[in-house]
Amino acid sequence: MATLKKQILPITDDALNVTRRSFFAKGALGLGALALGDILQGAPLGGTSSGLADAVEQSVRHYVPKMLDAWKALEHHKMVAAVDPEINSRIAQYEMAYRMQTSVPDAVDISDEPDSTFKLYGEDARKPGTYAANCLLARKLAEKDVRFIQLYHQGWDQHSGLPKLITQQAKETDQASAALVLDLKQRGMLDDTLVIWGGEFGRTNYSQGKLTATDYGRDHHPRCFSIWMAGGGVKGGVVHGETDPFGYNIIKDPVHVHDFQATLMHLMGVNHEKLTYQFQGRRYRLTDVHGHVVKSILT
Protein backbone atom coordinates (compact mmCIF):
# COMPACT_ATOMS: atom_id res chain seq x y z
CA MET A 1 0.00 0.00 0.00
CA ALA A 2 1.25 3.44 -0.84
CA THR A 3 2.13 5.60 2.11
CA LEU A 4 -0.23 8.48 2.11
CA LYS A 5 1.27 11.89 2.51
CA LYS A 6 -1.46 14.14 1.28
CA GLN A 7 -5.15 14.04 0.95
CA ILE A 8 -7.21 16.32 -1.19
CA LEU A 9 -10.85 16.63 -0.37
CA PRO A 10 -13.23 18.64 -2.51
CA ILE A 11 -16.53 18.89 -0.70
CA THR A 12 -19.68 19.86 -2.48
CA ASP A 13 -23.28 20.25 -1.41
CA ASP A 14 -24.63 22.50 1.28
CA ALA A 15 -22.09 21.30 3.77
CA LEU A 16 -22.66 24.02 6.32
CA ASN A 17 -26.05 22.98 7.57
CA VAL A 18 -24.96 19.50 8.34
CA THR A 19 -21.38 19.95 9.43
CA ARG A 20 -22.34 22.69 11.85
CA ARG A 21 -24.39 20.22 13.82
CA SER A 22 -21.99 17.37 13.61
CA PHE A 23 -19.73 16.37 16.43
CA PHE A 24 -16.38 17.03 14.86
CA ALA A 25 -17.02 20.00 12.68
CA LYS A 26 -17.28 23.64 13.47
CA GLY A 27 -19.22 26.34 11.70
CA ALA A 28 -16.42 27.91 9.76
CA LEU A 29 -16.50 25.49 6.87
CA GLY A 30 -15.73 22.47 8.97
CA LEU A 31 -12.14 23.57 9.39
CA GLY A 32 -12.19 23.02 13.13
CA ALA A 33 -11.08 19.89 14.87
CA LEU A 34 -13.43 20.50 17.81
CA ALA A 35 -12.87 17.70 20.31
CA LEU A 36 -9.46 16.94 18.86
CA GLY A 37 -8.25 20.43 19.63
CA ASP A 38 -7.68 23.61 17.72
CA ILE A 39 -4.09 22.77 17.09
CA LEU A 40 -5.36 20.43 14.39
CA GLN A 41 -7.70 22.89 12.76
CA GLY A 42 -7.35 24.03 9.19
CA ALA A 43 -6.24 27.46 8.06
CA PRO A 44 -8.48 29.02 5.39
CA LEU A 45 -6.47 30.15 2.41
CA GLY A 46 -7.39 31.77 -0.87
CA GLY A 47 -10.83 32.20 -2.34
CA THR A 48 -12.93 34.59 -0.34
CA SER A 49 -12.14 32.94 2.98
CA SER A 50 -8.75 34.46 3.22
CA GLY A 51 -7.67 34.32 6.86
CA LEU A 52 -4.15 33.16 6.27
CA ALA A 53 -3.60 34.79 2.90
CA ASP A 54 -4.78 38.05 4.41
CA ALA A 55 -2.44 37.79 7.36
CA VAL A 56 0.38 37.10 4.99
CA GLU A 57 -0.48 39.95 2.69
CA GLN A 58 -0.43 42.44 5.53
CA SER A 59 2.68 41.17 7.09
CA VAL A 60 5.55 40.60 4.77
CA ARG A 61 7.25 43.74 5.86
CA HIS A 62 10.89 44.40 5.58
CA TYR A 63 11.43 44.45 9.30
CA VAL A 64 9.91 41.13 10.26
CA PRO A 65 13.23 39.27 10.22
CA LYS A 66 14.84 42.05 12.25
CA MET A 67 11.90 42.08 14.60
CA LEU A 68 12.25 38.37 15.07
CA ASP A 69 15.96 38.70 15.70
CA ALA A 70 15.45 41.33 18.34
CA TRP A 71 12.71 39.32 19.91
CA LYS A 72 14.83 36.21 20.05
CA ALA A 73 17.68 38.17 21.51
CA LEU A 74 15.40 39.36 24.31
CA GLU A 75 14.00 35.94 24.97
CA HIS A 76 17.39 34.38 24.85
CA HIS A 77 18.55 36.83 27.42
CA LYS A 78 15.74 35.80 29.66
CA MET A 79 16.11 32.14 28.93
CA VAL A 80 19.62 32.15 30.25
CA ALA A 81 18.32 33.80 33.39
CA ALA A 82 15.26 31.70 33.91
CA VAL A 83 15.87 28.28 32.33
CA ASP A 84 12.44 27.93 30.82
CA PRO A 85 12.28 25.31 28.06
CA GLU A 86 8.82 26.40 26.95
CA ILE A 87 10.29 29.55 25.49
CA ASN A 88 12.03 27.44 22.89
CA SER A 89 8.79 26.08 21.54
CA ARG A 90 7.34 29.55 21.41
CA ILE A 91 10.30 30.81 19.43
CA ALA A 92 9.93 27.80 17.14
CA GLN A 93 6.32 28.81 16.48
CA TYR A 94 7.41 32.30 15.52
CA GLU A 95 9.97 30.89 13.15
CA MET A 96 7.30 28.68 11.66
CA ALA A 97 5.01 31.72 11.32
CA TYR A 98 7.76 33.53 9.55
CA ARG A 99 8.33 30.61 7.22
CA MET A 100 4.60 30.61 6.50
CA GLN A 101 4.74 34.32 5.76
CA THR A 102 7.55 33.91 3.35
CA SER A 103 6.53 30.62 1.73
CA VAL A 104 2.77 31.12 1.33
CA PRO A 105 3.03 33.95 -1.22
CA ASP A 106 5.37 31.72 -3.21
CA ALA A 107 3.10 28.71 -2.87
CA VAL A 108 0.05 30.60 -4.12
CA ASP A 109 1.85 32.41 -6.91
CA ILE A 110 0.63 31.11 -10.28
CA SER A 111 2.48 33.61 -12.45
CA ASP A 112 5.08 31.02 -13.45
CA GLU A 113 2.53 28.46 -14.58
CA PRO A 114 2.74 27.77 -18.33
CA ASP A 115 -0.28 28.17 -20.63
CA SER A 116 -0.63 24.39 -20.71
CA THR A 117 -1.66 24.52 -17.03
CA PHE A 118 -4.56 26.79 -17.84
CA LYS A 119 -5.48 24.68 -20.81
CA LEU A 120 -5.67 21.72 -18.46
CA TYR A 121 -7.52 23.38 -15.56
CA GLY A 122 -9.49 25.85 -17.69
CA GLU A 123 -9.20 29.61 -18.02
CA ASP A 124 -11.08 30.05 -14.72
CA ALA A 125 -7.91 28.94 -12.97
CA ARG A 126 -6.48 32.39 -13.64
CA LYS A 127 -9.17 33.98 -11.45
CA PRO A 128 -8.42 33.70 -7.72
CA GLY A 129 -11.27 32.22 -5.73
CA THR A 130 -12.75 30.13 -8.51
CA TYR A 131 -12.96 26.40 -8.03
CA ALA A 132 -10.52 25.88 -10.88
CA ALA A 133 -8.01 28.24 -9.27
CA ASN A 134 -8.41 26.32 -6.01
CA CYS A 135 -7.73 23.02 -7.78
CA LEU A 136 -4.51 24.47 -9.11
CA LEU A 137 -3.71 25.84 -5.67
CA ALA A 138 -4.32 22.36 -4.22
CA ARG A 139 -1.72 20.89 -6.57
CA LYS A 140 0.77 23.59 -5.64
CA LEU A 141 0.19 23.06 -1.90
CA ALA A 142 0.49 19.30 -2.35
CA GLU A 143 3.82 19.89 -4.05
CA LYS A 144 4.86 21.73 -0.90
CA ASP A 145 3.90 18.69 1.18
CA VAL A 146 0.82 20.22 2.80
CA ARG A 147 -0.87 17.19 4.32
CA PHE A 148 -4.55 17.98 4.14
CA ILE A 149 -6.09 20.24 1.56
CA GLN A 150 -9.79 20.85 1.41
CA LEU A 151 -11.56 22.61 -1.45
CA TYR A 152 -15.10 23.84 -1.22
CA HIS A 153 -17.58 24.42 -3.95
CA GLN A 154 -20.81 25.50 -2.38
CA GLY A 155 -24.45 25.94 -3.34
CA TRP A 156 -25.57 22.50 -4.47
CA ASP A 157 -28.84 22.70 -2.57
CA GLN A 158 -31.27 23.01 -5.49
CA HIS A 159 -34.73 22.49 -4.08
CA SER A 160 -35.80 24.40 -7.18
CA GLY A 161 -34.21 25.79 -10.33
CA LEU A 162 -32.04 22.70 -10.67
CA PRO A 163 -31.59 22.30 -14.45
CA LYS A 164 -30.11 25.73 -14.90
CA LEU A 165 -27.94 25.77 -11.77
CA ILE A 166 -26.60 22.24 -12.04
CA THR A 167 -25.42 22.98 -15.56
CA GLN A 168 -23.48 25.94 -14.34
CA GLN A 169 -22.03 24.15 -11.33
CA ALA A 170 -20.98 21.14 -13.36
CA LYS A 171 -19.25 23.51 -15.73
CA GLU A 172 -17.42 25.20 -12.88
CA THR A 173 -16.13 21.95 -11.40
CA ASP A 174 -15.91 19.27 -14.11
CA GLN A 175 -12.78 20.21 -15.99
CA ALA A 176 -10.73 21.38 -13.03
CA SER A 177 -11.50 18.28 -10.95
CA ALA A 178 -10.33 16.01 -13.74
CA ALA A 179 -7.38 18.31 -14.31
CA LEU A 180 -6.27 17.99 -10.70
CA VAL A 181 -6.19 14.19 -10.92
CA LEU A 182 -4.42 14.24 -14.30
CA ASP A 183 -1.92 16.82 -13.13
CA LEU A 184 -1.06 14.88 -9.97
CA LYS A 185 -0.69 11.75 -12.09
CA GLN A 186 1.63 13.32 -14.64
CA ARG A 187 3.79 14.65 -11.81
CA GLY A 188 4.00 11.24 -10.19
CA MET A 189 2.17 12.49 -7.11
CA LEU A 190 -1.02 10.48 -7.38
CA ASP A 191 0.48 7.39 -5.74
CA ASP A 192 0.75 9.06 -2.37
CA THR A 193 -2.06 11.56 -2.75
CA LEU A 194 -5.66 10.59 -2.30
CA VAL A 195 -8.23 12.74 -4.04
CA ILE A 196 -11.76 12.48 -2.68
CA TRP A 197 -14.72 14.10 -4.30
CA GLY A 198 -17.95 14.10 -2.39
CA GLY A 199 -20.69 15.77 -0.46
CA GLU A 200 -22.43 14.66 2.67
CA PHE A 201 -25.73 13.50 1.18
CA GLY A 202 -27.46 12.98 -2.15
CA ARG A 203 -30.60 14.32 -3.82
CA THR A 204 -33.84 12.56 -4.61
CA ASN A 205 -34.25 11.00 -8.03
CA TYR A 206 -37.72 12.53 -8.23
CA SER A 207 -38.82 16.10 -8.47
CA GLN A 208 -39.49 18.49 -5.64
CA GLY A 209 -41.67 21.56 -6.09
CA LYS A 210 -43.40 22.49 -9.31
CA LEU A 211 -42.44 20.30 -12.23
CA THR A 212 -42.42 22.03 -15.60
CA ALA A 213 -40.72 21.12 -18.86
CA THR A 214 -37.77 23.34 -18.00
CA ASP A 215 -37.69 23.63 -14.23
CA TYR A 216 -37.81 21.49 -11.11
CA GLY A 217 -35.91 20.83 -7.90
CA ARG A 218 -34.71 17.86 -5.87
CA ASP A 219 -34.91 17.28 -2.14
CA HIS A 220 -32.23 15.98 0.22
CA HIS A 221 -31.70 12.21 -0.04
CA PRO A 222 -29.42 10.78 2.61
CA ARG A 223 -30.22 7.11 1.89
CA CYS A 224 -27.74 6.79 -0.92
CA PHE A 225 -25.32 8.90 -2.89
CA SER A 226 -22.02 8.55 -4.68
CA ILE A 227 -18.54 9.91 -4.21
CA TRP A 228 -15.37 9.22 -6.14
CA MET A 229 -11.79 8.73 -5.11
CA ALA A 230 -8.56 8.62 -7.07
CA GLY A 231 -4.96 7.70 -6.25
CA GLY A 232 -3.52 7.17 -2.78
CA GLY A 233 -3.92 3.41 -2.53
CA VAL A 234 -7.42 2.95 -3.96
CA LYS A 235 -8.25 1.01 -7.12
CA GLY A 236 -9.15 3.02 -10.18
CA GLY A 237 -11.99 2.22 -12.55
CA VAL A 238 -14.11 0.25 -10.14
CA VAL A 239 -17.56 0.93 -8.79
CA HIS A 240 -18.36 -0.18 -5.26
CA GLY A 241 -21.95 -0.59 -4.14
CA GLU A 242 -25.25 -0.48 -5.92
CA THR A 243 -28.70 1.04 -5.49
CA ASP A 244 -32.05 -0.18 -6.65
CA PRO A 245 -33.05 0.91 -10.16
CA PHE A 246 -34.76 4.01 -8.74
CA GLY A 247 -31.69 5.19 -6.87
CA TYR A 248 -33.69 5.19 -3.67
CA ASN A 249 -32.18 2.48 -1.45
CA ILE A 250 -28.85 0.71 -1.36
CA ILE A 251 -29.14 -2.96 -2.37
CA LYS A 252 -25.47 -3.99 -2.34
CA ASP A 253 -22.24 -3.12 -0.49
CA PRO A 254 -23.32 -0.10 1.52
CA VAL A 255 -20.54 2.10 2.94
CA HIS A 256 -21.53 3.91 6.11
CA VAL A 257 -19.76 7.15 6.97
CA HIS A 258 -17.90 5.26 9.72
CA ASP A 259 -16.78 2.68 7.13
CA PHE A 260 -15.63 5.48 4.89
CA GLN A 261 -13.66 7.11 7.69
CA ALA A 262 -12.21 3.78 8.79
CA THR A 263 -11.05 3.25 5.19
CA LEU A 264 -9.47 6.71 4.99
CA MET A 265 -7.68 6.14 8.27
CA HIS A 266 -6.46 2.78 7.03
CA LEU A 267 -5.09 4.46 3.89
CA MET A 268 -3.26 6.93 6.11
CA GLY A 269 -1.76 4.09 8.09
CA VAL A 270 -3.91 4.53 11.19
CA ASN A 271 -5.82 1.71 12.82
CA HIS A 272 -9.21 3.26 13.54
CA GLU A 273 -9.86 0.79 16.33
CA LYS A 274 -6.65 1.67 18.15
CA LEU A 275 -6.48 5.46 17.91
CA THR A 276 -8.33 7.11 20.77
CA TYR A 277 -8.34 10.50 22.41
CA GLN A 278 -9.64 11.74 25.71
CA PHE A 279 -12.56 14.12 25.58
CA GLN A 280 -14.73 15.20 28.50
CA GLY A 281 -13.91 12.27 30.67
CA ARG A 282 -13.85 9.39 28.27
CA ARG A 283 -11.78 8.01 25.45
CA TYR A 284 -13.24 8.28 21.98
CA ARG A 285 -12.38 6.66 18.71
CA LEU A 286 -12.75 8.74 15.56
CA THR A 287 -15.16 6.09 14.31
CA ASP A 288 -16.90 5.78 17.70
CA VAL A 289 -17.67 2.05 18.09
CA HIS A 290 -18.32 1.41 14.40
CA GLY A 291 -16.64 1.22 11.03
CA HIS A 292 -15.15 -1.44 8.77
CA VAL A 293 -12.37 -0.84 6.29
CA VAL A 294 -13.70 -1.33 2.75
CA LYS A 295 -10.90 -3.64 1.66
CA SER A 296 -12.18 -4.43 -1.82
CA ILE A 297 -11.42 -0.93 -3.13
CA LEU A 298 -7.81 -0.94 -1.93
CA THR A 299 -4.93 -1.62 -4.28
Partner: protein, 283 residues
Protein backbone atom coordinates in the same frame (compact mmCIF):
# COMPACT_ATOMS: atom_id res chain seq x y z
CA UNK B 1 -8.42 32.72 35.26
CA UNK B 2 -6.07 33.48 38.14
CA UNK B 3 -3.74 30.51 38.42
CA UNK B 4 -4.27 28.82 35.06
CA UNK B 5 -5.66 25.66 36.63
CA UNK B 6 -7.73 24.81 39.65
CA UNK B 7 -7.03 22.96 42.88
CA UNK B 8 -8.80 20.10 41.16
CA UNK B 9 -7.04 19.97 37.82
CA UNK B 10 -9.91 18.25 36.01
CA UNK B 11 -12.90 20.60 36.38
CA UNK B 12 -14.55 18.82 33.45
CA UNK B 13 -14.64 15.66 35.50
CA UNK B 14 -15.31 15.69 39.22
CA UNK B 15 -16.21 12.02 39.01
CA UNK B 16 -14.12 8.97 39.68
CA UNK B 17 -11.93 9.51 36.59
CA UNK B 18 -11.03 13.03 37.63
CA UNK B 19 -8.11 14.01 39.80
CA UNK B 20 -8.31 14.56 43.54
CA UNK B 21 -7.76 18.09 44.85
CA UNK B 22 -4.05 18.86 45.13
CA UNK B 23 -4.62 20.95 48.26
CA UNK B 24 -7.85 19.80 49.90
CA UNK B 25 -7.42 21.91 53.01
CA UNK B 26 -6.89 25.08 50.99
CA UNK B 27 -9.96 24.23 48.93
CA UNK B 28 -12.00 23.81 52.11
CA UNK B 29 -10.67 27.05 53.53
CA UNK B 30 -11.54 28.97 50.36
CA UNK B 31 -14.99 27.41 50.19
CA UNK B 32 -15.74 28.33 53.81
CA UNK B 33 -14.31 31.81 53.30
CA UNK B 34 -16.51 32.31 50.23
CA UNK B 35 -19.68 31.15 52.01
CA UNK B 36 -19.03 32.98 55.26
CA UNK B 37 -18.49 36.24 53.36
CA UNK B 38 -21.91 36.17 51.83
CA UNK B 39 -20.86 34.43 48.58
CA UNK B 40 -19.02 37.60 47.61
CA UNK B 41 -17.19 36.60 44.42
CA UNK B 42 -15.30 39.85 44.12
CA UNK B 43 -13.98 39.53 47.63
CA UNK B 44 -12.90 35.95 46.99
CA UNK B 45 -11.03 36.97 43.84
CA UNK B 46 -9.39 39.86 45.64
CA UNK B 47 -8.22 37.56 48.42
CA UNK B 48 -6.62 35.25 45.89
CA UNK B 49 -4.99 38.12 44.03
CA UNK B 50 -3.52 39.51 47.24
CA UNK B 51 -2.23 36.13 48.39
CA UNK B 52 1.47 35.42 48.66
CA UNK B 53 1.08 32.55 46.21
CA UNK B 54 -0.32 34.80 43.49
CA UNK B 55 2.28 37.49 44.00
CA UNK B 56 5.25 35.16 43.78
CA UNK B 57 7.35 35.09 40.66
CA UNK B 58 7.20 31.92 38.60
CA UNK B 59 10.92 32.17 37.98
CA UNK B 60 12.67 30.74 41.01
CA UNK B 61 15.46 28.32 40.32
CA UNK B 62 15.86 27.27 43.92
CA UNK B 63 12.16 26.55 44.31
CA UNK B 64 12.16 24.75 40.99
CA UNK B 65 14.95 22.49 42.15
CA UNK B 66 13.36 21.74 45.53
CA UNK B 67 9.71 21.67 44.51
CA UNK B 68 9.63 20.67 40.86
CA UNK B 69 5.90 19.95 40.70
CA UNK B 70 5.06 23.07 42.69
CA UNK B 71 3.21 21.01 45.28
CA UNK B 72 4.24 23.47 47.98
CA UNK B 73 3.03 26.44 45.90
CA UNK B 74 6.48 27.93 45.91
CA UNK B 75 6.06 29.62 42.52
CA UNK B 76 3.29 31.29 40.60
CA UNK B 77 2.20 28.81 37.92
CA UNK B 78 3.12 30.69 34.74
CA UNK B 79 0.15 30.84 32.41
CA UNK B 80 -0.93 32.63 29.28
CA UNK B 81 -3.39 35.47 29.23
CA UNK B 82 -6.79 34.48 27.88
CA UNK B 83 -7.70 35.40 24.31
CA UNK B 84 -9.84 38.25 25.61
CA UNK B 85 -7.17 39.60 27.94
CA UNK B 86 -4.56 39.44 25.20
CA UNK B 87 -6.62 41.72 22.99
CA UNK B 88 -7.75 43.95 25.88
CA UNK B 89 -4.18 44.51 26.93
CA UNK B 90 -3.30 46.14 23.62
CA UNK B 91 -6.36 48.36 23.91
CA UNK B 92 -5.33 49.41 27.42
CA UNK B 93 -1.71 50.20 26.56
CA UNK B 94 -2.61 52.15 23.46
CA UNK B 95 -5.16 54.14 25.44
CA UNK B 96 -7.87 53.14 22.98
CA UNK B 97 -9.94 51.11 25.43
CA UNK B 98 -13.52 52.26 25.96
CA UNK B 99 -14.38 50.99 29.44
CA UNK B 100 -18.13 51.43 29.26
CA UNK B 101 -19.98 48.66 31.07
CA UNK B 102 -22.93 46.81 29.56
CA UNK B 103 -24.79 47.29 26.32
CA UNK B 104 -25.07 45.47 23.04
CA UNK B 105 -22.34 43.38 21.46
CA UNK B 106 -19.97 45.17 19.11
CA UNK B 107 -18.39 44.15 15.81
CA UNK B 108 -14.72 45.07 15.58
CA UNK B 109 -12.36 44.32 12.68
CA UNK B 110 -12.57 40.93 11.04
CA UNK B 111 -10.38 39.73 8.17
CA UNK B 112 -12.27 40.22 4.90
CA UNK B 113 -14.30 37.27 3.64
CA UNK B 114 -14.08 35.20 6.82
CA UNK B 115 -17.61 35.91 7.91
CA UNK B 116 -19.17 35.25 4.53
CA UNK B 117 -17.34 31.97 4.33
CA UNK B 118 -18.55 30.91 7.76
CA UNK B 119 -22.10 32.14 7.92
CA UNK B 120 -23.23 33.15 4.48
CA UNK B 121 -24.41 36.47 5.94
CA UNK B 122 -22.65 39.78 5.80
CA UNK B 123 -20.63 41.33 8.61
CA UNK B 124 -21.12 45.02 9.07
CA UNK B 125 -18.18 46.27 11.04
CA UNK B 126 -18.83 48.93 13.68
CA UNK B 127 -16.96 52.20 13.87
CA UNK B 128 -15.59 54.57 16.50
CA UNK B 129 -15.85 53.60 20.17
CA UNK B 130 -17.34 50.24 19.35
CA UNK B 131 -14.02 49.07 17.95
CA UNK B 132 -12.34 49.56 21.31
CA UNK B 133 -14.57 47.90 23.86
CA UNK B 134 -13.39 45.01 25.99
CA UNK B 135 -13.28 41.71 24.11
CA UNK B 136 -16.05 40.51 26.38
CA UNK B 137 -18.41 42.61 24.25
CA UNK B 138 -17.24 41.33 20.88
CA UNK B 139 -20.07 39.87 18.82
CA UNK B 140 -19.84 36.11 18.86
CA UNK B 141 -21.79 33.85 16.65
CA UNK B 142 -22.33 30.40 18.11
CA UNK B 143 -19.78 27.94 16.69
CA UNK B 144 -17.86 30.82 15.15
CA UNK B 145 -15.86 32.87 17.63
CA UNK B 146 -13.93 35.89 16.35
CA UNK B 147 -10.93 34.29 14.59
CA UNK B 148 -8.29 36.36 16.38
CA UNK B 149 -9.63 35.04 19.69
CA UNK B 150 -10.30 31.52 18.46
CA UNK B 151 -6.61 31.22 17.64
CA UNK B 152 -5.95 31.84 21.34
CA UNK B 153 -8.20 28.96 22.34
CA UNK B 154 -11.60 30.48 22.96
CA UNK B 155 -14.15 27.66 22.84
CA UNK B 156 -16.52 27.27 19.89
CA UNK B 157 -19.50 27.31 22.23
CA UNK B 158 -20.99 24.27 20.53
CA UNK B 159 -20.23 22.02 23.47
CA UNK B 160 -19.79 23.05 27.08
CA UNK B 161 -16.18 23.93 27.86
CA UNK B 162 -15.10 24.30 31.46
CA UNK B 163 -11.40 24.40 30.78
CA UNK B 164 -9.84 26.06 27.76
CA UNK B 165 -7.04 24.49 25.86
CA UNK B 166 -3.67 26.08 25.93
CA UNK B 167 -2.35 25.62 22.44
CA UNK B 168 0.77 27.04 20.92
CA UNK B 169 0.57 27.57 17.17
CA UNK B 170 2.26 29.73 14.53
CA UNK B 171 -1.12 31.32 13.84
CA UNK B 172 -0.86 33.00 17.23
CA UNK B 173 2.33 34.66 16.12
CA UNK B 174 0.61 35.82 12.94
CA UNK B 175 -2.25 37.32 14.94
CA UNK B 176 0.01 39.09 17.42
CA UNK B 177 2.13 40.54 14.66
CA UNK B 178 -0.37 41.25 11.93
CA UNK B 179 -3.99 41.22 12.98
CA UNK B 180 -5.50 44.61 12.33
CA UNK B 181 -6.63 45.13 15.92
CA UNK B 182 -3.12 44.43 17.15
CA UNK B 183 -1.13 46.19 14.44
CA UNK B 184 -3.26 49.25 14.91
CA UNK B 185 -2.96 49.05 18.69
CA UNK B 186 0.84 49.02 18.38
CA UNK B 187 0.68 52.07 16.15
CA UNK B 188 -1.43 54.06 18.60
CA UNK B 189 0.58 52.79 21.57
CA UNK B 190 3.72 54.00 19.78
CA UNK B 191 2.15 57.37 19.15
CA UNK B 192 1.21 57.66 22.79
CA UNK B 193 4.78 56.89 23.84
CA UNK B 194 6.26 59.39 21.40
CA UNK B 195 3.85 62.08 22.55
CA UNK B 196 4.43 61.41 26.24
CA UNK B 197 8.21 61.04 26.29
CA UNK B 198 9.23 63.20 23.34
CA UNK B 199 12.84 62.63 22.35
CA UNK B 200 13.80 60.78 25.52
CA UNK B 201 14.16 57.44 23.80
CA UNK B 202 15.27 55.56 26.90
CA UNK B 203 12.20 56.67 28.84
CA UNK B 204 9.97 55.86 25.89
CA UNK B 205 10.99 52.22 25.69
CA UNK B 206 11.39 51.70 29.42
CA UNK B 207 7.75 52.76 29.73
CA UNK B 208 6.75 50.52 26.85
CA UNK B 209 8.52 47.50 28.31
CA UNK B 210 7.22 48.17 31.79
CA UNK B 211 3.62 48.48 30.70
CA UNK B 212 3.80 45.26 28.70
CA UNK B 213 5.69 43.09 31.19
CA UNK B 214 5.22 44.77 34.59
CA UNK B 215 8.95 44.89 35.16
CA UNK B 216 11.85 47.19 34.29
CA UNK B 217 13.94 46.13 31.31
CA UNK B 218 17.49 45.12 32.05
CA UNK B 219 20.16 47.30 30.46
CA UNK B 220 20.98 44.70 27.83
CA UNK B 221 17.32 44.42 26.93
CA UNK B 222 16.81 48.14 26.64
CA UNK B 223 19.83 48.32 24.39
CA UNK B 224 18.34 45.72 22.03
CA UNK B 225 15.10 47.71 21.80
CA UNK B 226 16.87 50.99 21.19
CA UNK B 227 19.11 49.49 18.53
CA UNK B 228 16.08 48.09 16.78
CA UNK B 229 14.43 51.49 16.99
CA UNK B 230 17.42 53.21 15.46
CA UNK B 231 17.59 50.71 12.60
CA UNK B 232 13.90 51.11 11.92
CA UNK B 233 14.06 54.88 12.14
CA UNK B 234 16.72 54.99 9.42
CA UNK B 235 14.57 52.86 7.15
CA UNK B 236 11.41 54.89 7.70
CA UNK B 237 13.18 58.24 7.43
CA UNK B 238 14.56 57.23 4.06
CA UNK B 239 11.23 56.03 2.76
CA UNK B 240 8.20 58.24 3.51
CA UNK B 241 5.90 56.04 1.42
CA UNK B 242 6.69 53.00 3.50
CA UNK B 243 6.17 55.04 6.65
CA UNK B 244 2.75 56.07 5.44
CA UNK B 245 1.88 52.50 4.57
CA UNK B 246 3.03 51.19 7.93
CA UNK B 247 0.89 53.74 9.73
CA UNK B 248 -2.19 53.29 7.56
CA UNK B 249 -3.54 50.24 9.46
CA UNK B 250 -7.02 50.70 10.89
CA UNK B 251 -9.37 53.63 11.20
CA UNK B 252 -7.73 55.83 13.78
CA UNK B 253 -5.10 57.90 12.07
CA UNK B 254 -1.84 59.02 13.51
CA UNK B 255 -1.75 62.62 14.65
CA UNK B 256 -0.02 64.66 11.92
CA UNK B 257 1.85 66.77 14.45
CA UNK B 258 3.91 63.78 15.61
CA UNK B 259 6.98 62.80 13.61
CA UNK B 260 5.70 59.98 11.43
CA UNK B 261 8.96 58.08 11.08
CA UNK B 262 9.41 58.07 14.85
CA UNK B 263 5.97 56.60 15.37
CA UNK B 264 6.43 53.97 12.68
CA UNK B 265 9.81 52.93 14.06
CA UNK B 266 8.46 52.90 17.62
CA UNK B 267 5.50 50.79 16.48
CA UNK B 268 7.96 48.15 15.27
CA UNK B 269 9.56 48.09 18.71
CA UNK B 270 6.16 48.01 20.42
CA UNK B 271 5.34 45.04 18.18
CA UNK B 272 8.38 43.21 19.47
CA UNK B 273 7.68 44.00 23.11
CA UNK B 274 4.04 42.99 22.87
CA UNK B 275 5.08 39.66 21.37
CA UNK B 276 7.59 38.58 23.96
CA UNK B 277 6.73 35.87 26.40
CA UNK B 278 6.32 38.11 29.40
CA UNK B 279 3.71 40.26 27.64
CA UNK B 280 1.48 37.31 26.84
CA UNK B 281 2.15 35.13 29.86
CA UNK B 282 1.80 35.91 33.52
CA UNK B 283 5.08 35.05 35.18
Amino acid sequence: MIFGSGIVSTPQDFGNQGHLPSHPELLDWLAKYFVSHDWDLKRLLKTMLLSGFYRQSSLNEVAQAVDGENVLLTRYPKNRLSAEMTRDQVLVHSGLLVDQIGGRSVKPYLPPGVWTGASGGSYKRDNGDKLYRRSLYTYWRRTFPPPNMMIFDTPQRSVCTVQRRNSLTPLQALVLMNDKQYAKGYKIFAQRLVKTYGDDIDARFVACFRMATSRMPEDAELKILINLYKQQLEIYKADPDQTKQALAVGDTQVDATVAMAQVAASAAVVGVVMNIDEAIYKY
